[in-house]
């Protein structure tokens, strides 16, 4: 039991740097498209690790299932929102950032 708890804590801690990376990318990356990359992928992994860590420490199977379901729903929402933002940027004629043109 102690091992599982410890693994849970480790997974939650492992998720943190990815949330930070998502925010860092949002601030540092040069255009809307690259920022979307940071938000969707880093937060997906960060949330996945946190959810997995919390599920290991959950008091019941239902609570663990609920956490995993939340992850899946967030993934669905973030992938869809990301596509919509990228498409609207593309339709407005926003060109992807390019190092040579800067």
């Amino acid at each position: 039991m102690f091992l599982i708890e410890a693994l849970g804590v480790l997974l939650v801690l492992a998720g943190m740097p990815f949330f930070l990376a998502g925010t860092l990318g949002l601030l540092r990356f040069p255009d809307v498209y690259t920022r979307l990359h940071a938000l969707t992928k880093a937060d997906n992994l960060g949330l996945g690790l946190v959810v997995l860590g919390l599920a290991l420490q959950a008091s019941s199977w239902q609570a663990a299932a609920k956490l995993l379901l939340i992850w899946v729903l967030v993934l669905l929402a973030s992938a869809t929102a990301c596509h919509i933002v990228a498409r609207s940027a593309l339709h407005r004629g926003l060109k992807p950032w390019n190092r040579k043109e800067q």
Binding site: A21, F29, L73, N98
Partner: protein, 167 residues
């Protein structure tokens, strides 16, 4: 008949979701039930459902593949965000789809946005527009493999290369 069946399925799936998230608290269902009905009606109005199914025996392999790719994608983009010089070489690419029109395509678009280095930006006819964060990544080859996996998950056949008729 099919409309009744798909509506019932939709409501049942939403009810299950609500139950997992909110439990059996009556007050929560006072909100949940109307929202379920509205969501179903809205979904039917916007996008009449097309039948689709997943091959059950392919699900574990696909789930494993998806988890692996999520890990790779997250690490890849985190590495770029933390690095001092941020190795970015972004570009837009057009990719002719081999998957037939339908839910499998929507699924593909969502999954590819969570994989390393790619982001779905648009879909027109049989071509998708993808933003890649680094043109040195083997984007096309990985997309082809992803299409195959999604095709096998949804039990649909891919169109052969020459018939996709890009442009």
């Amino acid at each position: 008949m099919t409309l009744v069946r798909s509506t019932t399925r939709y409501v049942a799936a939403l009810a299950f979701l609500w139950w997992v998230l909110g439990g059996t608290e009556p007050a929560s269902w006072a909100v949940g039930l109307p929202v379920m009905v509205l969501a179903t009606a809205l979904s039917m109005a916007i996008a009449p459902s097309r039948p689709w199914k997943w091959r059950l025996r392919v699900i574990p392999a696909f789930a494993w593949f998806f988890l692996k790719e999520s890990l790779r994608g997250g690490i890849d983009v985190a590495r770029r965000a933390y690095s001092v010089h941020m190795s970015l070489q972004p570009a837009m690419l057009n990719y002719p789809l081999h998957l037939p029109d339908g839910p499998a395509r929507v699924f593909l678009l969502n999954v590819l946005s969570l994989r390393p280095g790619t982001l779905s930006a648009d879909i027109r006819e049989n071509t998708i527009t993808i933003h890649t964060i680094d043109t040195s990544l083997p984007v096309e080859q990985e997309l082809r493999e992803l299409e195959k996996s999604v095709g096998s998950l949804f039990a649909v056949d891919l169109k052969p290369e020459q018939e996709t008729g890009n442009e």
